[in-house]
Structure formats: C-alpha cells, structure tokens
Symmetry: C2
C-alpha cells in the first residue's frame, strides 16, 4: 500500500483537487439526481416541483476536535449544526439527520449520553428528526459521521454556480471568530499541559469560544431572505474560510470578484484575540474557517432590500472572469484571493 | 471523561441495548418521517404514495477490515454493497450514495484511486449515483462512512415488525461463508507474520473468500419476489448473524419462531473450512455475520410460490410470542436463539 513505485502524496494534490479527482468519474446517471457531488449538498428530485438535498460530514477526533477542551454535549450539538449549515446553504429546510459513531473503550455509556444530549438539543432547536445511524467500536478515537436531509422547492435551490456579473456579494454574521476561539483554547491547553495548576484564562472571550464550541447554522438569514422574496443567485456555507468559499463561487459560476477588506465583518473579540496573537484579523477572517456563516450573491437590483437587513453585510461584487478574484484593501494594491483553508491533509498522520 | 464516578462500560450494555438507549429519546416529530431509527433504513414520505429510505454504515480500519489482506478496490466495493443490502431489506431500490473518507498520510493518491475504482464498480453494477461525501485527514486509520438512499412505493416497504404467526421464515443464499472466509484470512495472516516466506494457502476457498472480500447485495431476490407479486410480511438483511436478525424480527414483530437446523443453507466450502477449524458450521451460520443475505417472512399461503424459488430456502415458521425463539435440531431438545453477533464493543480499545 505504502510502497507504490509512483506514489503521489495526498498533500501534493491538496483537498480540493483530490476531491475533484476522486469524484470526477461519477456523473449522475439517474434522472432524479439533479446535482451530484460538487455543491454544499446533493439535490434529488422527488416529483415535478420538489426535491430533497443530502449532505454529509465526517468529524474525527484529533483532526476536527480535541476532547481535552471540547465538551461532548457541545460536540454532539456542533456535529448536527455543521451539516444543517450545508442544507441552509442550498436554501432548503433541514428535516432529518442520521448519526453514526465509532467509539473506543475509553468512552463510557455516560459519555455517549452527553454526546447524544447535544445531538438531541440541536435536533429540537432546528426541528429535525434523527432517523438512524450506526454504532461501532473503534480502535482509536471518536468518529462521528452525520448525514443531513432537507427539502425545498426545486425552483428555490441555490447552487454555487449561479453568480452573475455585477451581483452583490453578501455574508451573514462575522468571520474569524471560531478560528481565534480555537487559538485561545489551544494556548490554554498548552499552558495547562506545562503547569497543571494553571487555571485557563478564558474570561471576556465567551463569544469566540461559543463560535468554535457551539456554532449555530444561519436558519434566520435563509428565512429572512425568503420572507423578503429574495432568492440568492448563488450560496455556499463558509466552513473552510471566506477566501476559499469565494473562490468556489467564482470557479463554479465562472466569474471573478472584488471584496472590500474593510467591509468584512469581524467581531470585537476576534480582533482583540488576533491582536494578542499577533495575527492579522483579516487573515483569520479570510482563512480561519469553521465560521458556518452564509456567503451569497444577489442581483444588484436587490441592493436596497439587502443593504439594511439585520445581520447581513454586502462585502463586494461579482466581476468578469478575466478580472480574477481579488481582495481590495483600503489603500494599496489589490490582493489575489487564495484558498488556504485548513490544509487538513498535510497535518494528518 | 474516563473518570466518571458512575461509569458504565460499553460492553455492559452491549451494542443493541446501547443503540436503544441512545436513540430512544428521538421520536419522529415531522409527518414525513414514517420510520426513524430501529429498522434497516429510515423511511421518509415524499408524497402520497412514494417514499425514500435512508441507511448509513461506518467502516473502520482494524474493526471492520484489515488492510493487510483486504484489497482497497474490494473494500470500496463492499462499503457500497453493505449499505445497498439495507436498502433492499426495506424492499426498496437503491438510487444514490454518499461516501465520506478519513485518510491518514500513509495512504497515497493511488490508494484512493483503487478504493474509488471499487466504489465506482459497485455504483455501476447496482445503478446508483454517488452524489457527494466528505474527505478528511485522519490521525490514524482509514474511516469510510457511506449513506445510501433508495426509493419505493410506500405500500411496498417491508419492516422488521410485520411477521405474523404461521408465516414462513425464508432466507436467500447461504450462511457462515463470510465468517469462515475471515477465519481463513486471519489464519494465513498469522502464519505469514511468523514466517514471511510462507505463501498463503487459499486454494479451493475462493467462494468463502469472495463472500468476505466482495459480497453482493440480494437485488435479484427482491426483484424475483416483486415479479411473483409476493410482498414479504417482514424483512431484514443479515449482517450480524442469522440468529441475531431472527431475534430482531421476533422482537419487532412481537412473535416467536422455530427454525429447523438442517434447513439452514450452508455452502460446502463453509462446512469444510469450519471442519478444519473445529467450528460447528451451524455456529458459523447462526452467529458469524457479514452474510448480507435477506431474511424474510411470507404468509403460509405463499408456500408453493416460494418453495421452488431459486436461491430461496424456507427455514422455519413464526409462532406465538410466548413460545419464544428456538432452533430445532434434527434430534434432541430445542435450543434457544441468542444474539451473539460480533460483540464489536467488547473488542474495541
């Protein structure tokens, strides 16, 4: 397995090119498969006007979470929410989830009770049914695999591919908070490991901690847009960093973009923590990831409608593809957007 | 996490009681959730007469497969097939799958090409579309999580709960083959580990090896029953051992059963290998698991129709609940069926 004569390491391709390579041979063959791999969720027709969306996420101990500071109840909640975020990004309503877990002997029944209490809380808050799963032993850490199903009218589905030139680029909430919350937790963990008497210094940072430990999906924004009868031309959820998701929209829609740096919403705690760490808060916002905000585009004609919407910010606009995808700082040269993301494949063992 | 004052170990509950405990608080709340956890697949209504079924399985390295003898292409194929088997067990037609993988650095791109070649082959053979998934790095071994979706008319769905007194108990194929194939592979692995010059002795056992390394789902049987206009009163796929699945049918249908030992189909290679290992072939058949055959019940009035069907055997009948679930040997006392299965939770670390 590991002694191939022509061995290509995973990091040589990177996550996105690897996914493209693996899924490229799989073209939908059934008429009801409207969208296969390549968006936030698959779209399956269930009649003339309606469809289901299906999305799945894998959470692995040591990669996606560290149980030294991640409470199991929060983890259960988050495992559901990150999947629902993908459903909302399709402009659909989540309805069911399945949850599979792989567990090692170091967990006891009471641990799983906590994990499932978090899962239950998320299911109740978002009105989804848990309809099954799989339970297995694991040789090592905790594995959680969630699949979420949602429903929508076919005409309401928003893909990554629909952004048009001159569309406004909008976002919900703010960015970089989860990333800075994670840096804080990791710092306090290191301090505790070198001095077990040390108490974690987390005061004043409850918001960024909540963003990493107990994120919410942007149901409110999706419902608000529906009430205002605005259908985004494209939409994606921001899990790998705003920069990376902007590039997904640009690539799938075959367009370019201009994003104005000072328009990117950043919370005060995020900026403060970034400052403590000597990190540019815009770097955290663009490349941090795990924000679970929505990034979407609307026609320029909707400017007045979205401009004043609570929790929504216009951060830029779509341009011709030949103009590329750039960040515009308040002064100085435009900066080409890059998909840094979390290069998770480089860090694994 | 591990130092709870009231710590209940996972093996104290066992897999089935653990699943019951974890899923019990989750009752369906949406009208379209027809069946939640507790059968081979969830059932979601998509209109007056139609429904989707959804099922998911987790495959973890070191628990479900050993890559020292499991070719990656076969593993990809099997990961799909074991999920489709659950869809067929609902009397539904599989349509889409999602595949998530967690991979460590010891895998290269070419390894994943092989895994996905097997996934593609299974998708082609069973006419299902791969519609998405998730790709993550892993700190340790290979993790594969597959979700399968299928469709059916609501009236055609077969649950575990529909068996009636006097119904005939039927099975497809034969039992214990995958288990004996696994014993053979494990034996040859141990021999190879103690003497690297040893060549594996696998000749004459191609059938049982194929049953563990490249199982098929029983599409043919489901189609044959449909053509004969026979709807089973209950159905389940045999993944944890025939005995365990018989008990699921009995529990969910609130009935008992009598299964005639000599009627249980066992392949010649299975019997021969069991003999070599000093294992009773009926123990392998009843408790081995991973058979991916279908176990189903039909009304007694269908006796003539199913009796001659190719690849289908009648192995017993359903009785009143107070009579319990027993195996009837050719001579001597009846033996109470027990759900031994693979107690995977005891073996994990």
């Amino acid at each position: 397995m590991s002694n191939k004569p022509n061995r290509t390491e995973l990091y040589e391709l990177g996550e996105f090119r690897l996914i493209d390579r693996l899924t490229e041979p799989f073209k939908p063959t059934l008429p009801e498969t409207i969208m296969g791999a390549g968006d936030d969720a698959a779209v399956i027709s269930i009649g003339d006007e309606s469809c289901l969306v299906v999305t799945t996420d894998l959470l692995l101990e040591g990669i996606h979470f560290d149980l030294t500071y991640f409470p199991l109840k929060h983890l259960g909640y988050k495992a559901i929410v990150v999947n629902l975020s993908d459903v909302y990004a399709m402009n659909a309503t989540p309805t069911q989830v399945t949850v599979s877990i792989g567990i090692s002997k170091r967990f006891c029944v009471e641990d799983l009770d906590e994990l499932y209490a978090g899962i239950k809380l998320a299911c109740e808050r978002y009105h989804v049914d848990l309809v099954g799963g799989d339970t297995s032993s694991s040789m090592t850490g905790l594995t959680i695999s969630v699949t979420a199903i949602g429903k929508a009218k076919m005409a309401d589905i928003t893909y990554r591919s629909g952004a048009k030139i001159n569309d406004l680029i909008c976002v919900t909430g703010n960015f970089g908070a989860a990333y800075m919350g994670l840096q804080l937790l990791e710092r306090e963990k290191r301090i505790f490991e070198s001095n077990q008497a040390a108490k974690p210094q987390l005061e004043g940072y409850d918001y960024i901690l909540e963003r990493i430990l107990k994120p919410e999906a942007r149901r409110g924004a999706v419902e608000m847009l529906a009430r205002a009868k605005i259908k985004p031309t494209s939409m994606i959820d921001v899990s790998d960093g705003l920069s990376s998701e902007l590039l997904h929209i640009c690539k799938n829609s075959n367009v370019g973009c201009r994003v104005y740096m000072e328009k990117i919403p950043i919370d005060e705690q995020t900026a403060k923590m970034a400052n403590e760490f000597g990190i540019d808060p815009y770097t955290a916002a663009l490349n941090g990831g795990e924000d679970y905000e929505l990034l979407f585009t609307v026609p320029l004609s909707e400017f007045q409608a979205v401009d004043g919407m609570e929790g929504i910010r216009i951060i830029g606009h779509i341009v011709e593809p030949k103009l590329g995808a750039f960040l515009v700082p308040p002064s100085g040269e435009e900066i080409r957007l890059t998909a840094q993301g979390w290069n998770a494949l480089r860090n694994g063992q």
